[in-house]
Every structure is written in structure tokens, then in C-alpha cells.
Symmetry: C4
Subunit: 230 residues, 4 copies
């Protein structure tokens, strides 16, 4: 089994995990991962049912979008994934879903504020929303979706905030590995659902105090992190 | 196996899928499909539990409502289905449910606005609400429910907006095939749930920009659609 | 197997169905049924886990509350059930749960208005709320809970509105048979959840037009009902 | 099997029950229990997946925090658990989760008012919220989280109100036994979800009348309790 075979198996497994965790309805979602050394991206085929998805159906592209393995069309969102891999050199995997509450914030064109430690454990601040694409940007719609995300992260560290809401559309999440990207997509939906309910209960709910936010993020992700096993 | 046998099997399977996807509680729902060449409609029997539903219990009617196969009474909503098949010549299958959030919009007598691309992928604009039936229209209640839906679509393309909310009642969804009609019923509930949560978070949430709405609908349904496999 | 054995089996099965349908958390619920000819009521034992409930654990009482079969204590709510069987001579079975949204309306001390046909199919009008018990009525708390329900139905037909919300507490539902009582408890939770979401979306949502309410209720329950099989 | 082996098995089982009941997402939660005679606490290891958790992975600490059994790091929240065992001498087990609606109230920095008998059956009054920790208290963050909880309970009986919301963080629940602590965590989430929905429906919903609150709590927990089996 080559590294590329393993990548395709991981990407297949991640796509199925999205359904199992209730993040994907119908075919609304796709996961991909990259072999940085070889510049190859493995991604879900377009519009294929999750019920029958197998590793050999995963499509492999180079970073210019050329299919180098597989007989099916790649996800229509592949150019968005490629633009993100090009813009964020440390990202190893990307997950796109229309998970309910993250999508609700994207539709409300509202960032998800950091209201608690659950949020801070995964995202070191508010999860941002992009601007909407202009009519002129629709020519290369999916590619420009990636560009608009990258534009939004001009002054944001994608390792510290590994997710974004595309305005009027839905979330993308990412991580250094496929497993971390899936966890971040799952965490994103959970914190979006809780932020939604918190804001309905108390519209002026305070954001988490910066010292607690930093503490929680650091104990999982900082230089001296002590969460989990060594 | 005849084409009619296949239709009955598909209709039985679709009815069970509605339960599996959580769109139907108790016996609140029914699915039907039509063989256009023969003018025959297969539909769920009335009030029969989904637990024990089998293809041979599916009732077959002609377009005038006469039972041509089956020993059980057809769904009480059969005249609504027939009215829709007569009014919408390209519709191949119809799904009626009382799925929670689509029903909530029907009860609020409020159309579901297009707030995002998930909506636009399935419905090319707001999902409309009918008017309420008059007391005089109750004589042929179920037939007139179909007529009132058709009236509401006088200037709406039922292929572009394959669902409706009956005021104070619940949704109907449809499609060219049984599988597409079930997908549209499932998509309808998902977009209703997200629109509901979006409007609670931001009552003045903007509808999706028309250029993005058209782009998303066209990539799945337009002449040059490129979503899915060729 | 005697009629009483069958009753105990039905009551056991109904209690388990409440858990399966998500109406009961922990031990917050109980179902009972009556043999009118013999004046015997079968009910769940108190505080027994649903995981291990068997028909022979079901407790049988006479209408005065005396245990005539079984070695376990009956549900603490047994006196409420008995008071209802005494007050409503046509009721054959009773279901008490703390199902989420019915309990929410009970806590808000607000009746569930009839906002749609799903409601009208099961309840011929608003589901009422009782008054709170006075301090003096706590001496025989569970018995008086039943009395306060009966008081609320002085001018309401318990066959037409087979459920009530006890103020600050939770719902009771009933029916002519155990199966119908469970269906009514399930329908109650579904219409409470949809009414809640409807009222959040549109606080002044209109109640269902009386002519449509009567039509829907009559097609399932009226003298000329035509829903279901003959 | 020693008493300590049994404790580890119970703690493992409780951690898995939290996932089964939907109280824990990813690794956001941990359960512990104490052998008071030996001063030993068994707790979940940090960041270990619930999918593969076994009793021999459970870590045993003394009350000063020294690991006396097990090869994995204990939960990062272990110092909070230890502080609570030291502050509340009658507590036998503790459950920490980020369950959705309890966390929502913690994020809104709002106590959960007692709005109904479901609440009163488990908690003899509002479930309180702590103050936020100061920057100076972050040095021993987890230990001080326990101290801030104990501070909040200076005038509250932890046996009567067996749960707390840590401001901007999430809930802790406890009980005399591991099973009771899990039940309280489950009850806490259920009453938080219902309180949330009640307050959205009616922001000025009345708290339960004190005489009914006392009656309900006493029939389960009072000197003359009569709920359950003798």
C-alpha cells in the first residue's frame, strides 16, 4: 500500500465519518487530504452517494487541478480545496459540510463569537465569515470561493482558527491531518449550535475573557500543552 | 416484473425511506409515483403502519381516482396527488409529509426564503405557501388541496421549485423520479430547519444574492450543469 | 393467558415504547390501562428501570388503590391515574411522560394552541393547562393532581381532547386503548414541538380556521370518518 | 476483584454511558469516583478516545493528586475533581461534560431556574453559576476551578443541588454514587434544555411554587420519601 493509497483510504473514511456524525445530509459535503511532498490531493468524487463510497472512487488531483488518478469527476468544490492548500501551506486536510448550525451562522452572515471554553479548545477566537463573491467572481466560482477565504485570513492564522464560514453558503474546516480536520468540523458544529442557543437566551452574552481563552487554547495547542497523552 | 410492479416497489421503498430519514411520525405521510404512459398512480394505503408496509399493499389508481389494483383503501390524500399529477405534467413522483420545520413554516403561513446555497441547490427561490381553503372548498377537501397548490403555481415553475407549503397544514414535495422527490422532501426539511434557526438569530437575514442563487441552481440543474457524474 | 395477563403485557410494552420513542428519560414516565369490567388497573412499578422491565413486574390495583397483584410498589403517580379513570369513564389507558416540548408548555403555563392539521388530527382544539395545586392540596398530592385535571375538563370532552398539561409539571395523555394512548402521547410531543417553533418564528401565528380543524378531526374521528382502513 | 478494581470498572462504564446518552462529544468529558476509606480517586485518562476506553486505562490518584495506579496521564480536569472531593465530603462520584444546554446556560452566565417538577425531582432549587476565575487564578487553573465551585456552594448544600455551571465553561454534576452522578448529569441536561425552550417561549416564566418544589424533592429525597422501591 503506497502513501497515496493510504491517503485515499483516509479520505474515504473521513467522508463516511461526516455522515456518521450527522454533519452531512444527502451529498452536501466533501473531505480531502494532501500529500505535500508529492503535491497530490485526494478528494471525494462529485455527487456520489455516501452509501456506496469506496477508497478506489476517491479522485487524485495535482495542485493545478489535473486528475492524475481515478475515473470519476472530482467534487465540484475541488478548486476551493486546491486554492486553500495553495494559500495555507501547513494545512494537511480540508472538510466541507453544510452542517446545520455552522450554516445558520453563514446564512446570517455572522461570525461565531467565542462564548466558552469548548470554543477556545479548538478555535483561538471568533470563527470569521467571508464577504460574498461579486458577480464577476462567478466565472471561476469554486476557485474564487477559496480565494475569498484566503483573503479573509490575510491577518488570521489558519492554524489557530481552523475553520471559516462562507457567507450565504456553509463552513470549511481544516487541520494538519485528516482526523484533526474532521474533529474541527465536528467541534465547529457543536460550538455553533451552543452559540446559537446562547445568543437566543442572552443576545448580549459576553465573549470568553481573553485570559481564559488563551489558557484553554494553550493547554491543548500551546508550546507547553498538557492535554492528552505525551 | 412489470413496470407497474417496479413502481409499487419504488413507492413502498420511498415510504419507508421517509420514516428512516425522520420525516414521518406515526402515519403522517405518503409517497406516490406515476407511470405517465399508462396513466397509473401507485400510492400508500391509508393509515397502514410503516412497520409492516410491503409492495403488494401499495394501491394503484387511474388518474380519475378509480382503484385498479390492491385491496386496501388508498391514502386519504390520494385526490391531492392526482390533482398535482394532472396539473404538473412533468412530475413523476410526489411526497407528502408533516416534517417538523417545513410544517412550522406552513403553520406560520410564511414562505421559506432562500437564505443560502443549500436552498438554491434544490429550489430556485422561496418555497411558496398556499392560501387556506374556503369553507365551500371542504366538500372535496383533498382534491381542492391539490387545486389550491396548482393555483399557487400559476406563475411558478414546479420543476424549479419542487415543493410547496399548504397553509396551516404541511408540505408536499415532488420530482421527476421517486428518488428525486424523496431527496427534495429531505432537502426541504433541512433548509426549513436552517431558515428557522437563521431567522431566530437574525430576523432580517438577507436572502441569497440572485447571481449566487442562479449559479448554484444552474450548476446542479442548468443546461450546462457540472455537478455529479456525467 | 387471562385478560389481566394480556393487559399487563400491553402496559409493559407501552412503557417500553415510550422510551423507544424518546418520550421518557430515566424513569420519568408511566403507562397504565384498565379492565373496566373488573375495575382493575395495571400500572408500571415505581422507579424501576425500563431496561429490565417485564410484564410480571406490572402492578395491578383496584380503583380504590389497593394492590391486588404484584410484589412491587406501584408508580407514585398511580393515584392520579385512578382519579382519571374514575372521572373519565370512557378512557381505557393513560400515559404520563415528561416529554420535552409538552413539558415546556406546562412549565410556561400555556395551552398548546391548534396551529395546524397535525394537531387537529389528534386534538379537536387547544390542549389545556390545569391550575397549580394549593398548599392544602399537597396532602394527597397525586390524587389531587387527578382531581385538578378532571376539574379542568368540566366543560371539555376528554375523548375530543385526549391530553392535558399539568401546570409546572408535565403532560398526561389517554385514549380508549393502550395503543391509542401511546399514539396520543407521541402526537402531543410532536405538535408541542412544532407549536413551540411556530410561535418563536411568528408569535401571533393564527390558530387553524375552525372549518379546517373540524374537517381534519372528523375525517379521522367523526361519524363518517374515512381515514385508515374500514 | 478488589474494591479499587470495581471502582475502575464503574468509572469506565460511566464514561462510556456519557457518550451513549449524548452528553459527550469527542473527548469533552470525564467521570471519576472515590473510595473514601482509602482516599483514592479513579478517573478517566486525558484525551483518550471513548471508543477504546477500558477499565485498566482508568488512572487512580490519591487526594493530593499523586498517581498510584495506571500508566496514562489522568484527565487534565483531575485537580478540579480532587478539589471537589476535598470540599464536599459526602460526594462519591463526579461527572464533567460539555453537554449542550447546560453549557449554554454556563455560557450565558445564567443559573438554571427551577421551572418545573422535573427539575425539583433532582435539584432543590436553581442550579447556580460560578464567578469567572481571575487572571491570577490561572496558575493552578483546574485546581482553582474546583475552589471557585466550592466557594459558590458556601451557603448551598451540594447534596440538595448536585450540580453547578462553571461560568463560560460547562457543568459539573455529582452524587453519592457513580450511577447517581451520571443520572444527575443526564437530568441536568434535560432540565437545561427544557428551561431554555421555556424561557424562549415565555421569558418571564414563573419558577415552581415553593410548596410544590419541596413536595417533589421530598418524595424522592426526603426523610419520608416514597418514590421507587423500599
Amino acid at each position: 500500500m503506497t502513501a497515496l493509497d493510504r491517503l485515499c483510504a483516509e479520505v474515504c473514511h473521513a467522508n463516511l465519518a461526516l455522515v456518521k456524525h450527522g454533519l452531512v445530509t444527502l451529498t452536501w459535503g466533501n473531505a480531502s487530504a494532501i500529500l505535500r511532498d508529492e503535491g497530490l490531493v485526494a478528494i471525494k468524487p462529485s455527487g456520489v452517494s455516501y452509501d456506496t463510497l469506496t477508497p478506489d472512487q476517491i479522485v487524485v488531483l495535482d495542485l493545478s487541478g489535473k486528475v492524475v488518478r481515478g475515473t470519476l469527476r472530482p467534487s465540484t468544490d475541488a478548486p476551493t480545496h486546491l486554492a486553500l492548500y495553495n494559500a495555507f501551506p501547513k494545512v494537511g486536510a480540508i472538510v466541507h459540510t453544510h452542517s446545520s448550525y455552522a450554516t445558520v451562522f453563514a446564512q446570517a452572515r455572522r461570525e461565531i463569537p467565542c462564548l466558552g471554553t469548548t470554543h477556545a479548545d479548538h478555535f483561538a477566537g471568533a470563527v470569521p465569515v467571508t464577504r460574498q463573491l461579486t458577480p464577476g467572481e462567478l466565472t471561476e466560482y469554486e476557485h474564487n470561493t477559496g480565494r475569498v477565504i484566503a483573503e479573509r485570513f490575510a491577518n488570521v492564522d489558519p492554524a489557530a482558527i481552523p475553520a471559516v464560514l462562507v457567507a450565504g453558503h456553509a463552513p470549511f474546516a481544516w487541520g494538519p491531518t485528516m482526523a484533526k480536520a474532521v474533529d474541527n468540523a465536528l467541534a465547529l458544529e457543536a460550538i455553533a449550535r451552543m452559540a446559537h442557543a446562547t445568543l437566543l437566551l442572552r443576545p448580549d452574552a459576553p465573549t470568553l475573557e481573553p485570559h481564559v481563552l488563551a489558557k484553554h487554547h494553550d493547554r491543548k495547542h500551546g508550546a507547553n500543552r498538557y492535554y492528552g497523552q505525551p
